[in-house]
């Protein structure tokens, strides 16, 4: 490769990584404002652990992310299997609705759900967040699972039936094992989408249930907070681990 091409790739990567790198470095920096390197410290990590409201928001966010990823994967996974296997009334409408949810900006879905929750009297907190997050995760789950289903041999299902397997046996012994990597990838994707979400969460949560994006938003607005750097570093680390797992899973997919 010509050197100028390598330089070009390097510049793009620098743009993507310098901000993250500086943030990670500052989370270990003695200097509170990160203006210069004053030595290595873990004090911001302990400050982060002692910040009770920050920790509570993190716990709440993780709780919402884990539950909505689980509900979305189960409902979306089973739903996608039905969409793939059967022809039923409203199948097309279902697919169009899923595509619409995926394509509209988050803010539109967020205010639509806010109007719905206020009118029907659903209190804004854990449950409203769960319902909203499952909704925006569902299309990503069905797309992932459908892609996997379309990739495998439909003869496998016919063969199982020919050999006398019942409908539920086919599902349990053929379809679900084949779907395992796609389901895991969907869960991880949903988990990340939920944890990453700022827009929908700002609209559908209430004052009694503080979540991470809102907490971070209010902390960051007033200036640099080293414990935010520490928490962010932790999250970048988690992202790296998750993406490597996901990459491994999709690689298995193609085999």
């Amino acid at each position: 490769m010509k050197p100028f091409r390598i330089i070009y790739l390097a510049i793009v990567f620098l743009y993507l990584y310098i901000p993250l790198a500086v943030m990670v470095a500052n989370s270990f920096n003695v200097n509170k404002y990160g203006m210069r390197w004053d030595g290595f410290t873990l004090q911001w990590f302990s400050a982060m652990l002692q910040n009770h409201s920050l920790m509570e928001a993190t716990r709440n966010s993780l709780l919402v992310a884990i539950s909505s990823a689980t509900v979305a994967t189960v409902l979306g996974g089973l739903g996608a299997t039905c969409i793939y296997l059967y022809r039923f009334r409203g199948r097309k409408v279902m697919q169009v609705t899923l595509l619409t949810i995926m394509m509209i900006p988050d803010i539109i879905l967020a205010i639509g759900l806010l109007v719905l929750f206020v009118i029907t009297g659903v209190s804004l907190g854990f449950w409203s967040l769960l319902l909203a997050h499952v909704t925006f995760c569902l299309p990503f789950v069905t797309v992932t699972v459908l892609a996997r289903l379309q990739g495998f041999d439909p003869n496998l299902i016919d063969a199982a039936k020919d050999l006398g397997a019942s409908e539920s046996q086919t599902t349990r012994h053929i379809v679900i094992p084949l779907l395992k990597p796609a389901l895991l990838a969907s869960w991880l994707l949903s988990f990340t989408l939920s944890l990453d979400d700022v827009i929908v969460s700002s609209f559908v949560t209430g004052p009694s249930f503080d979540v991470l994006p809102l907490k971070l938003f209010s902390m960051v607005k007033v200036g640099v907070k080293p414990e935010v750097n520490a928490l962010s570093t932790l999250f970048v680390g988690i992202s790296v681990v998750l993406i490597l797992i996901c990459h491994y899973l999709t690689k298995e997919n193609k085999r």
């Binding site: 070009y8 719905l116 971070l216 960051v220």
Partner: protein
Amino acid sequence: MKPSSRITIITLLGFWLTIFGGLPLLLLLVTSFLGQHPEKFFELNFSLESYRQLLDSSYLDILLRSIKQAVITTLLCLVISYPFVWLTARMNKRNRNIVLILVMIPFWTNSLIRTYAVRIIIGTNGLLNKMLLGLGLIDSPLRLMYSETAVVIGLIYLMLPFMILPLYANLEKFDYRLVEAARDLGAGNTQIFLRIALPLTLPGIIGGSIMVFVPTMGLFYVASLLGGGKNLLVGNLIHQNFLVSQNWPLGAAMSTALILMLLSMLLAYTFILRKMKSREVAG
């Protein structure tokens, strides 16, 4: 699956999508036609007041500026990504995978955290200014923060992977032998780009552009963290009308306008795709 469980699943998913997917959008449309009330969220009568207000110069101004920023962001993302993806697609499989993982790591990191990270870099005392001062390229620190430029830098930073990934999916399938054939037949670089690369990668270009353009207008937190109070996006207006001034009909009308605009773009995209397909069949 047993017929009974099959019906249960389909019904459940159908209900979910109707109530939490379709109904909110319908409610939004209805709300945009309701009357405004200073103390309540809305008043229950039919009114076109909110749409009339949308045409008000100050709102129209923000809407147009928001579109301008989204267009600039999309174009710059495209200009940065296209050569990047072109080079990546030529690599061997191992390096390609490494590049893709490196592109996706920031994409999987909380976007609020990343916006904050951008703020650390471009602030008056940030790394960027220090580097430029150190290199002697500037005499006094650049005041990038709280400007339109800062918002665009932040938006590009967040949206770049959304351009790279669809472009890559498209360019991966591109047959490089076409370029070699064209070169053998005496085509120059410009000609190769305009007559071979561009038409064949157009679906990826448009797909990536939509992926960047659509969410960009709603990213209110980027505008408030990097643009201060002055450089607003449509998302900020909607956010303000729903959570601060509680003027739901006006906020809903803005959202409806946004959806209509995006919808017409999507229709144009499918139209272009269909036209290209029919040309392929004919040719």
